[in-house]
Structures are given as structure tokens and as C-alpha cells.
């Protein structure tokens, strides 16, 4: 039996292209850190245990001339994240709070590359002036160890040898192998030139047998013998610069890519030290800047902004489009309004009702271009609020029609009757309107919460006491997802899901913790009428749980095609609570409840009442590019869609290929 549901698609999200310039995988926790450039640079943390899921975005980066600069990121010493850039510092980031922990200045100029030794105790940084700086990784900071001999020209890439004694570096026209203990270069390998044009070594690998593999600006991948310092062989793999090389997890393949966006697999002949060109992968349309491998999976990113995951065999290519995590949506169902929060501003859209048009009624920028952490709009559309570091702003919005029948918004900033103070590490707060005049503020760590009441007569905000939530102490990343209704709050802390209830006196008590699942939750949604929470996980599981008793009502793994590795992005219940729409980047699913939803009071009388509730997941054959949000809109749904062409048209020209007839 089929269901027909009405959807309104709105192309209201402006996505700016943010190219991926570097990435690093933590092989222990399976967290992939990548830096996206563009107007708003940020480091993204992805969980790649199952289907890749964007977990956290770090905005607080070291800047140069007011612009964030990250040339390389590395993980070290169990979940510590370091980055470097043109500002000349090696910076450690707090993954949990997104704060910049500390920075260590490198000798002389910009830092182009970083490398961590195999024992995770020393970090090496290559600089503009040809120095390789070594830092000891201490418990809470980096301490300067020494510099190796200075070389001519910048150090563009480096990698430690598996034994931890040598460092291979690449620069203009030469490759060097350094003895870390002696501090001298033990080998200097000249790359040679083509048409007297200097050769830039962009990428380097040092293999177990001291074979040094380099990729350079001629499109050549060279294999050098690091022991005796000679070129073993080289192969023309690309028609333009090879920007990145990556060794597969089983060390049998090397992936190479660059300005020529073909990702080429260079395979090792078993039983020999010979490497040969193997199958290419056409994944990206523009320069590939960085590669990372995990088991059979290859992650790639570049100018075209897509994070791609590919594998062979079986041949699977999945692209995760650049729909920024910092974009938040807050729909006002009653007033037909949609709030979209970007990194530094928010927009409010009036959705069409009857003959009216879709209009952007308001755009608010944060003061001093501060990063907005969270934003929310009340259900009646009268109030909206946003939070920046250490501050919350609440506004009343009203509309009047001018002579031309155009909506004119008027804003009034609400005053605070009292002030609240979170600790320094909880400067950022999640905001949610739980009622039209009641705002919830939840600290980013998830430990502290307060309820603010809006006094509509005096147009002021009164904060309640700061309360500490139960069971929120030990969390690695802090609060991930937040869902609220008028009476309940549901949050995720790492892979735990906890439901709280708001009492009459605005105290908060814990309802239950949902059973933990091996995969991370990708969305949580509270039922509008019943004590049910709908959770989707990155392994395609869908779970509905009764949070009054903590029992799982139903659980199912959605069957998808083998190559459909997009995680569920979110869900939305219909107004009658009989159906929910679950969406991922490119498709929509409908979850339909076929049995009775049992009232909590009746439930106690039933022995196995959960069997009365059945649900069925239905699929829609239509494919979309790309879906960013689904929300309720009366009895229908509103979908925010991103046009991929709006991203592509801003990209620089790609490497041209000669082809027949063009």
C-alpha cells in the first residue's frame, strides 16, 4: 500500500564552496579531521566507523590577516588534534569544546606540513625557510625539542619513516632524508626538471623498506631507494601536479591524485618491490587536495568540496556534499516561518501561504562577525534567539504590511532581568524554544541547563537557576544532537541518548537513558503527542523508544542498496504523529505507524503492549540533490534543498582534458 505525502521544496540555503585542503584519520577512534577553506574556514570531525557522519565543527582557528589558515592537520597521542598554517604556529585544538588549547611557535615563518612519529611522542613541522622543527608531545602542551639543519627552500611535505628514525621531506627540485638523531640530511635526491621548469615535490611517503615515494608538479610519481639515494623508477601517472599520496592500510597500494583529478591506484606486485599503475577512479571534478585510507575505504577531498568515500572491490563511490554542519534550521509551523542559521548570520524566511511568495524577511549578522553557535525560533514566530561565545541575544520580531503589500519586519532586542554565568568552558550554549515564551539554554558540554522565561508585558527575559543534568559528566565531544518538546528534552552525548523531562517548576529530571547502540545516532526526534523518541543511526538502524519506561517499541534496519552509504540526516514527525519523514542527503523515507499508539496509563495493564505498535518504512523512488532539512508545515512537510550547481558555479576552472570533439 502506498502513501502520498505533500512536500514543499524550498531552495533557501546559500552554500558557499569550501574546498577540503587537508585531512587526517585517527586510526584508533576512527575520527577523520579535515580542514575546509573558503570564506569561513573550519576543521570538521567526522566519525567513519560506519557511514561517515559529521560530528563536530571547530571554528576557533589561528588566523593570518584575519583569515584562518590550516595547511596540515594531524592526530597524536590518542585523540589530540594539531594543526599548522601560514601563521607559523603549531596549534592544538580541544575537540570537545572547539577551543584553541595552545599554540607553539615554529622557527622561521609559515609551517607547511606536520608529521607525528610512530610512537606518537614527537611532532615534526616543516617551515617556509627550510627548517624542520621537532616538538615533544607533553601531556598538556608541546615543548620545543630542536631543529634539524636548515635546507634551501621551503619544506612542503614530510613523513616519518616507520622505524621513527628518519624523516623524508619534499621541497623544490629535491627530496631529502633526514636522520633525526644526528640532525643532518643523510640523502639528498634531485628530482630533475622538465623544460628547465622547477619541480615541486608536493607529496611524500616513506615505506617500510626505506623506499621513498614522491609525487611532484610534473605529474610523476617517483620511487627512490632511501638507503643508497638513487631513483629506482618513476612513472608518469597524471597530466598535472600530483598533490597527494596515500598508502593503503594493507600497504599494498598507493593512491595518487592532484590537479588532474583522477585518483590512481599504484599497486605493489606481490613478492617484488615493483609498483605498477593500476585502476584509476574518477571521483572528483576538480583538483584533489588530500587523501586518507581506512581499511578498504579511500577518503578524498579537494576543490570541488565533496568528501568522497570510495572502495574497490566492490566498486562504490559515495559523495558527502558540503552542507555545513553549522547551518541550523528552526521552523515556526504556526507562523510559516523558517530560520536558517549560518556561521556568522541568520536569515528568516516567510514560507508561502496561499498566493504569497517565498520571501526572505530578515537577515541578522552577529556583532563583530562572531561565530553564531546556535539559534532558535519560537513556534508562534514572535521570538528568535541566537548564541555566540559567552552571550545570548533574544529578539522579538513583528511584521507590518507597507503600502506596497510588502512585509516589513521590526525587531526589538529583549533586555535581561538577571544574568547567568556558565563556566569558561561552557561559553557556548544550545538554544531551543520549548514554549512560545520559554527558552532553554543548554551548555555545549551538556552538563548545565537553564530555562529563560520571556515576559511579554515588559519585553524582558528572566533566567532561571542553572541546573546540572544527571549522567552528563564523561563525554568526549559534548552534546551532539538536541531535541525538545514542551515537556521533554532529549540529547546525545557521544553514543548515549538521554531523555529528561521539564517539571512544572522548571526543574529538570531524568526520564531514562536509551539503550546504547554500536553505531552513532544521526538524528533524534521526539513524538509530538506520545512519549516516543525516534532515533536514526549511521548503520541505517531506526529505533522508536518509549522514554517513560525506556523500552524499545520497535527497531528495524532499513534495507538500502549496497552503494547507498548516505547516513540518515534527520527526521520529522507529522502533525498527527502517525507518520514520520526520515531523510538523507539524496532521498526521503516514510515511517508509518500501523498499530495503535498506546497511552502510558493503559500500558501498565498490558503485558506485551509494544507488539500493538508496528511500523513500516517506505521509500520514495525520487532522488534529490541535496536535502538539508525536513520540517513540518501544517499537515505537509517543508524540505530545504541545496542546488549543487550553486556550489559548482563558484569553483575555479578544472584541469582540462583533451578529448575527442571538444
Amino acid at each position: 500500500m502506498s502513501n502520498s505525502v505533500k512536500f514543499h521544496f524550498a531552495k533557501v540555503l546559500d552554500v558557499e564552496p569550501s574546498p577540503i585542503s587537508c585531512m587526517s584519520l585517527n586510526h584508533t577512534s576512527k575520527k577523520l579531521a579535515l580542514f575546509r577553506g573558503g570564506r569561513i574556514g573550519a576543521i570538521e570531525i567526522w566519525d567513519v566507523n560506519h557511514q561517515p557522519l559529521l560530528e563536530r565543527v571547530i571554528f576557533e582557528l589561528e588566523t593570518i590577516d584575519g583569515k584562518p589558515s590550516v595547511e596540515s592537520v594531524v592526530w597524536a597521542d590518542n585523540n589530540r588534534l594539531f594543526s599548522c598554517g601560514l601563521h607559523g604556529f603549531v596549534v592544538e585544538h580541544d575537540v570537545r569544546t572547539g577551543k584553541l588549547l595552545h599554540k607553539s611557535a615554529a622557527t622561521s615563518g609559515s609551517v607547511w606540513c606536520l608529521g607525528v612519529n610512530p610512537t606518537q611522542t614527537v611532532i615534526a613541522a616543516g617551515t617556509e625557510d627550510g627548517f624542520i622543527n621537532l616538538f615533544n608531545i607533553e601531556e598538556k602542551m608541546l615543548t620545543y625539542l630542536r631543529v634539524l639543519d636548515r635546507q634551501d627552500g621551503r619544506v612542503l611535505c614530510l613523513q616519518w619513516s616507520p622505524c621513527g628514525r628518519y624523516i623524508g621531506t619534499g621541497s623544490v627540485d629535491s627530496v631529502r632524508l633526514w636522520d633525526v638523531n644526528k640532525g643532518h640530511a643523510v640523502q639528498k635526491l634531485m628530482t630533475g626538471r622538465t623544460k628547465n621548469k622547477e619541480t615541486i615535490v608536493w607529496a611524500i611517503l616513506v615505506l617500510d623498506d626505506h623506499t621513498i615515494v614522491t609525487g611532484d608538479s610534473r605529474g610523476i610519481v617517483s620511487f627512490w631507494d632511501g638507503r643508497i639515494g638513487v631513483l629506482k623508477y618513476k612513472m608518469q601517472t597524471h597530466k598535472a601536479d600530483v598533490l597527494t599520496l596515500r598508502l593503503s592500510s594493507d600497504k599494498s597500494s598507493i593512491y595518487a591524485a592532484g590537479v588532474d583529478p583522477i585518483v590512481l591506484n599504484i599497486a605493489k606486485i606481490s613478492g617484488s618491490d615493483k609498483w605498477i599503475k593500476s585502476h584509476p577512479r574518477n571521483i572528483h571534478v576538480n583538483d584533489v587536495m588530500t587523501l586518507e585510507t581506512y581499511d578498504n575505504r579511500l577518503f578524498s577531498g579537494g576543490i570541488d568540496t565533496d568528501l568522497a568515500m570510495s572502495s574497490f572491490p566492490p566498486k562504490i563511490i559515495v559523495k558527502y556534499p558540503n552542507i555545513p554542519k553549522y547551518t541550523q534550521f528552526s521552523g515556526s509551523d504556526n507562523a510559516a516561518m523558517l530560520l536558517i542559521k549560518y556561521a556568522k548570520n541568520l536569515t528568516i524566511w516567510k514560507l508561502p501561504m496561499g498566493n504569497s511568495q517565498l520571501t526572505k524577511v530578515l537577515e541578522v549578522e552577529s556583532k563583530g562577525a562572531e561565530n553564531m553557535f546556535s539559534a532558535a525560533m519560537s513556534q508562534n514566530g514572535s521570538f528568535f534567539a541566537y548564541s555566540v561565545s559567552g552571550a545570548v541575544k533574544v529578539f522579538q520580531i513583528s511584521f507590518t504590511l507597507d503600502n506596497d503589500e510588502v512585509l516589513k519586519p521590526s525587531l526589538e532586542k529583549l533586555q535581561f532581568e538577571n544574568l547567568i554565568e556558565f563556566s569558561s568552558e561552557n561559553q557556548l550554549v544550545h538554544l531551543k524554544f520549548i514554549k512560545d515564551d520559554t527558552l532553554m539554554l543548554l551548555s555545549s558540554s551538556g552538563r548545565f541547563i537553564t530555562i529563560a522565561k520571556i515576559n511579554q508585558t515588559t519585553n524582558s527575559v528572566c533566567f532561571g537557576d542553572v541546573q546540572e543534568l544527571q549522567d552528563t559528566e564523561s563525554s568526549y565531544l559534548g552534546v551532539g544532537l538536541v531535541a525538545t518538546t514542551a515537556s521533554n528534552l532529549c540529547i546525545t552525548l557521544d553514543n548515549r541518548i538521554i531523555v529528561y523531562s521539564f517539571n512544572q517548576d522548571f526543574t529538570i529530571s531524568k526520564c531514562c537513558s536509551l539503550p546504547t547502540h554500536s553505531a552513532l545516532p544521526s538524528s533524534i526526534t521526539l513524538h509530538p503527542l506520545k512519549p516516543l523518541v525516534l532515533v536514526t543511526y549511521v548503520d541505517n538502524s531506526v529505533l522508536i523508544c518509549n522514554y517513560n519506561d525506556g523500552k524499545i517499541v520497535c527497531q528495524e534496519v532499513v534495507k538500502k542498496k549496497v552503494d547507498d552509504l548516505q547516513p540518515f540526516q534527520g527526521a520529522c514527525w507529522s502533525s498527527d504523529g502517525q507518520t514520520a519523514v526520515i531523510f538523507q542527503n539524496d532521498s526521503l523515507f516514510l515511517l508509518e505507524i500501523t498499530g495503535d499508539i498506546i497511552e502510558p496509563k493503559r500500558r501498565k495493564k498490558l503485558v506485551s503492549d509494544e507488539h500493538n505498535l508496528r511500523f513500516q518504512i517506505k521509500t520514495c523512488p525520487s532522488k534529490y540533490k541535496y536535502l538539508a532539512y525536513v520540517g513540518g508545515f501544517g499537515t505537509d512537510f517543508v524540505v530545504v534543498e541545496v542546488d549543487p550547481h550553486s556550489i559548482l558555479e563558484h569553483l575555479p576552472p578544472a584541469f582540462a582534458k583533451k578529448r575527442f570533439g571538444a
Partner: protein
Amino acid sequence: MGGLGAPFILCPLSERRDFLGISGADGSIVLTTGKNMAIRYHVLEQKQETSWTSSRHWFTSRVVKCADIGKYGAILDNNTVAVWNEDDTAMGDVTKMKFSDPIWELNPSSSLTEDGALVIFENGFTTPLAPLLTSDQKKKLRKAIATGKGFVDTECDTIIDAAQCHPEKVVIISAPKKAGRAIVTRDVMKVTLLHKNQIVTQIEVKSEFVGHCILPGDDGPSILYLGRDGRLWQQFLTTPLPAPSLVGSLAKVISPLTPVVLHPAPPSSKDGDWSKVVIYGSDPSEEGALIALYDLKYDIVVAKQSLKMYANPPIMDVLGGNVLIPVGLHVLVIALYSSKSRLSGVVGKHGIRSGEEVFEQRSPFVLDPVTSVGWTVDVEQPHGHHNKQAAAAKKLLRSASSNAEVNAIKKSFPEFWEVVQQYKILEREGQPQSLICTQILPLALTKGDAALDWMLQNFTDIPESHLIIILAKLLDNMTDSITASHSLLDLILSRSVDPAQLVGALTSLDFILSRRLALYLKFKMESALTMGSESGDDTMTSSVLWLTSLLDAHYTHFVLGDELSLVEELLSVVAKGAAWLEAIAELEPYLILTQQKIDFQPRPNPHSKWRTEILTFT
């Protein structure tokens, strides 16, 4: 009309962002590729001829050949005019003139102007280069600049284009400055027409546009600009200033959402006038770029080519009959050429739009069984009494094997029984229809319309040359004033023919008869448009095909003769017909759904910001 050749890569381009432009020089082109490098290439030989590098200064405009002084010149560091000899590759012996005011570009000399190369300052001041080389003039000019005297437009906005046009005029297009905005908006352009440093005309075009070019012409220069709605406008710069005229709509050809480059195509010896422009922009239907050669006179796209990539902002130049486009890391060359099929281009585009391709499916070497020859479905369509005759003939031929049957044929076809009898004999000998037709046609022509009608109805394979012979005989009996349809002519025109062979065969048709045929086709199309009929679209399709072939076969007569007005009339009828066919094609799926009594929802536009869809989940 003209066409675009196969593209080839001329040379690599290191940095497209630093690319300053292309100029022509003695059959070669000069690419100012980077900030301090200019290279001259021979286009056809695809090789580098020479290069110049300024080690201490940066080029800020393209390097041009100043034909009047026989030297190369460019602007260095924004405010210095530099001139040097061709063999001075290291640019060691450069004549430099530094000014305090920024210079926009050095405009190369044109044979149309007396003054040769021009120096155009960013404030709009324009002066010939050659007199500057004498010290007296330089001093005078500096004095003039210092005092502000002599400046033609000291409040000139940001210049976006300039060209020298006949007669001895310089056109400067500028866009208004907007404070605080790095990108110059192209919403409004200001056009200044200079003559001997005096402003002749100055206009403001206040409509949004995505591309423009300056078009020289015998009637004075004009500005072509493409609006954001895809419509191409032409603004003549004559006094008094006329209103801009609409040239045509290019929305379906090129995407007006992204910037477009327009460039006039050099006039060929056949055209002799500036009637075509080369357009480079993004493809509206798919990803990538599109280059089109557009004829302004006939409002058609003569030729087009797709490229895989479209780069924003687009750069294109047309030099010496070659289109040059920097794409990715290369410079692409596409040759422009004049082709013989001028008028097929005029009418052919509508032929293509009609959506029907007629392919030759017959084989003269395969003889169909006698019983099936000539009585296929199309022959059995109702055609009045001729159809009854055909049915009778079919019946007779099936069983005709004796004298008695021959007598029966004679009785049934008293007027042309000999023709039928001869056909019967030849068919029994095993000859194919095309050969039989050759042998019995002369006899049939003497027997009148009935015999010809019988042939047309019963023969599926009549060579095109024979059809033209029949056509000539029928047209000969008609006059130029056509008021009614001719059933036999309609029979001929509705046959499926091979277009290539038809063009060849139509060349043998006398021009007077060809003109009459064209008039008849025009009449048929007009009546199909006004009256409407069940077979209206078939009539329209076949008429367009015949007209295309006819004009191709006699293009010299139609164009070089005095028949341009007729061609224009035909073009308007064909355009109307094509629009009609297009409308039917668009409606077809809905008509089919209506016929099948299936409810249909109009598909929402996927490009609109808000759309509603009802999705079915299964």
C-alpha cells in the same frame, strides 16, 4: 552561411587568472599570458614564433602590434606606455612614457582609422600613440593631463570595453563605479563615442545585460548586448539616437544566467558585412560551455559547439578568422569558415526543430514481391477516385497472366493501359521498381495526369530525379498565382525522399519552376497554418524539407538574384510553422494522456525557489 571548425589546442596557459588578453599580429596572435610574459604564436602551424619578457616591469594590458609604427606596445605597471621592436625579446631597449594617470589599455591600430594605435586612459582620455613618440607632443600631453584640459570625459566610469570603428571613431563602454564593491556591476553601461577626442554621442543603457560587443558596420557602430532574459538587443550609435532594436532571443541557445562573451565575426567575402557574432557562454541545457555563431540578419544560430568546461568569467577573442578561448590550462582555437550551404542554414534550423529526420530506407537492389509493391499503408490512404483505381489495379495485377487479363487492364485503364502493360512485362522480367520507373516514365508523361497519378500511387520507389521530372511537368502547367491545392503535387510532396538526393535532383529544375514550387510550398504551409487539418503537421514537415532542399539547390539564384524578399517571406512562414510544430510537440504528451483518460499533474519547475510535489512512498 558559415561554421565552426574542429577545435585544437594552440598552447598551454599557466595561470588563467593572470591572463591579460590576446591580440592579432601579422597572421599570428600574441598571448599576454602572465604578468611579465607575452608570446607570439602562429595559429595554423601551432608553434611559438617569439616571446617578450619584461624583467623589471609588469604588463598590465595585453601586448599589441602597432601597425602604424611597426612596433609592439603594451602598458607597463598601469601607467607607462612601452613600445619596442619585435626582435627585442628581453625588452632591453624599450621606449617608455610614464604618466601620472592610470592607463586602461593600448588599443591596436586599425586600418579604418587614420590615427593608428590609441592610448586609452582609465578616465576616458584617448590619444593616438604615434604623436606621443615625439617629445613635443609628449610634453603637450603631460601638460594637458596636468591641467585637466583636453580630457573628453574626466568623470568616466570604469571602462569595460573599447574599440575603434568606422568612420574614425572610438567607442568606449564603461560601467558606473559603485563605492565599496570590487566587482563592477554590468547592470548599466555608458557608451561614449569619440571622434578626434570629442564626444560625439554618449548614452546610458539602463537594462541588465550579461554580455556585449561593439559591432562595426557601414551604418555606423552599434552595441550588441544580451539581456538577462536572453534577448539580444542592438543599439545603433547614430544621431539622433534610435531606440534599441530586438535582434532575437537566445535564451534557448545560451544561458543568460552566467556571463557571456560576444564578439563580431569578421565579414567573409561572401557576406561582406558584419552580420554574424560569435557567442561564448554556458550551455543552458547541460553542464559545460557553448560557442555559437549567430547570424543577426536571419536570427539563427548558424553553428555551435559544446565544450566540457565553462570558466567564469568567460574569455574569448576572435582574431583572423579564429576563435580563441582560454580553457583550463590551454588556449583553444576554433576556426571560423564560410560554408556553401548558406540557405540551408536559414531554413535548415527549422527543419531540425521539426523533429523529424527522413532516412533513406529503400534499397534499389532489393525487389519487393509484386503483390506487395505499391500497396503499402500510405498508398491505401483515401485519395478519392484514384484510390479505387489503385485497388482495381492491385486486384488485376495479382492475377494478370494472359491476354484476357491484358484486355481487362485495357478496359480498366483505357487512358494509359500501355503503361500498365509495360510495367507488367518489366516486372515479370525481375527488374526493380526504380528501373521500371525509368523506362515507363517517358510514356506515362505523354499519357496525362491519370497515368502519373497511377504511378505515384503504385510505385514506392521512384528515384528523386524522376519525381522532379514529374514535378516539372506539373509546375509547367501552373501559374505563379496559386490559389488551390494540386492533388498530384501534394502526392509528390508527401512522399518520403532522401534529402541529399533531392537537393541534387532539384538543381536540374528550372529556376522559374523552382520559384513556382517555392510559392506553392509557401501556399501549402500558410493554408496548413490558417486552415488546420488532420495532416497539417505532416504537410508542414514535408514542406519544410522540400523548401530546405529547394533553397539549397538554388541558393545562388535566390540570394544573388532578386529573390531575397521571397526568401524572407518563406523564412517568416517557416518560423511560424516551426513554432506551430514545436507547440504540438510540447502538447503531445498531454494530448496522449488526455486521450488515454489519465489525469496528469504539470511538472514543477525544479529551478524555482519554491515548489510543491506530492510524493508517493511504497
